[in-house]
Chain length 147, copies 2
Amino acid sequence: MKLNQFKARIYKEGLKSTRQREEILNTFLNLSGHKSLSQIFSQVVKADPKIGYTTVYRTLRLLTRLGLATQRKFADGETRYEPTSEGTHHDHLICLDCGKIIEFEDQTIEALQRGIAQRHRFKIFHHRMELYGQCETCRRKKRIAHR
Amino acid sequence: MKLNQFKARIYKEGLKSTRQREEILNTFLNLSGHKSLSQIFSQVVKADPKIGYTTVYRTLRLLTRLGLATQRKFADGETRYEPTSEGTHHDHLICLDCGKIIEFEDQTIEALQRGIAQRHRFKIFHHRMELYGQCETCRRKKRIAHR
DNA sequence: TCATTTTTGAAATTGAATTTCAATTTCATT
DNA sequence: AATGAAATTGAAATTCAATTTCAAAAATGA
Ligand SMILES: [Mn+2]
Ligand SMILES: [Mn+2]
Ligand SMILES: [Zn+2]
Ligand SMILES: [Zn+2]
């Protein structure tokens, strides 16, 4: 149960535990995936119509600060959030037709990236790698539509 | 001289060659690097104070469409443009302190990316890879400042 | 309960990106 | 050189997500 971790962190930071924050965290974790603020908001509102957009916005930033959420900015511009995956970093394959997002890890690439940084005497803090294209499902649909 | 290529392309598309477009292309090419619209605009204005921001905006999009400019959206959010580099694709190392941008190519990584896509039955159209960190110059400055 | 501090949510603001539209310019054709 | 259709320009307006403001409400702990 992440809720207790959250409450503990909140307390440690001198912040307050509220009904809204708990509801938002809960909804966010159940939602999974890579969701935009408005997607998260409309889900939160279903559970409690009194919760405001601003509160969802602020809570997602808080979760990001606490390490429970990870912020992503893919090429479409809208900021997305995903529950932080334990320990591992991953990158993304994104379908430009249907928006499907597949996660992947590649240690060989990560090692090569470190090599590149070293060669240019950079100290890397984080990186971003996204592959944009078309998933198999969408490719099939297009083929059929083309006849 | 890219200007003639540009005029030829403009003509082929049924568009018109104007003083503004020529000035913007010229300034953009001389500027080099990865420049934001406002950076390009303020340079263009030096050459001709009558040219409007909107025209610079539209011309950079036109250049992008024609393949003469490449649009980049790094993590800072502001859209940047760079003259399209012939033939080769490249990725970027970015210093979070001074904004310095270093370009690199790595065929091994590119091949691994193709492998990942294939394994997930994706057809890739383009990708983006950026390594964010601190350049050597900035690291040295920080060290000195820390005493 | 009381006092202090934080949080909430509606509304306002920001800032880059984009669109609108009337005036101007281009350019092929006289 | 003059004409006129089509494209372009630039100032202003609009959009839209992100962020800030601020007064009212809620949480915490003495
Ligand atoms: Mn992910
Ligand atoms: Mn570049
Ligand atoms: Zn798809
Ligand atoms: Zn630097």
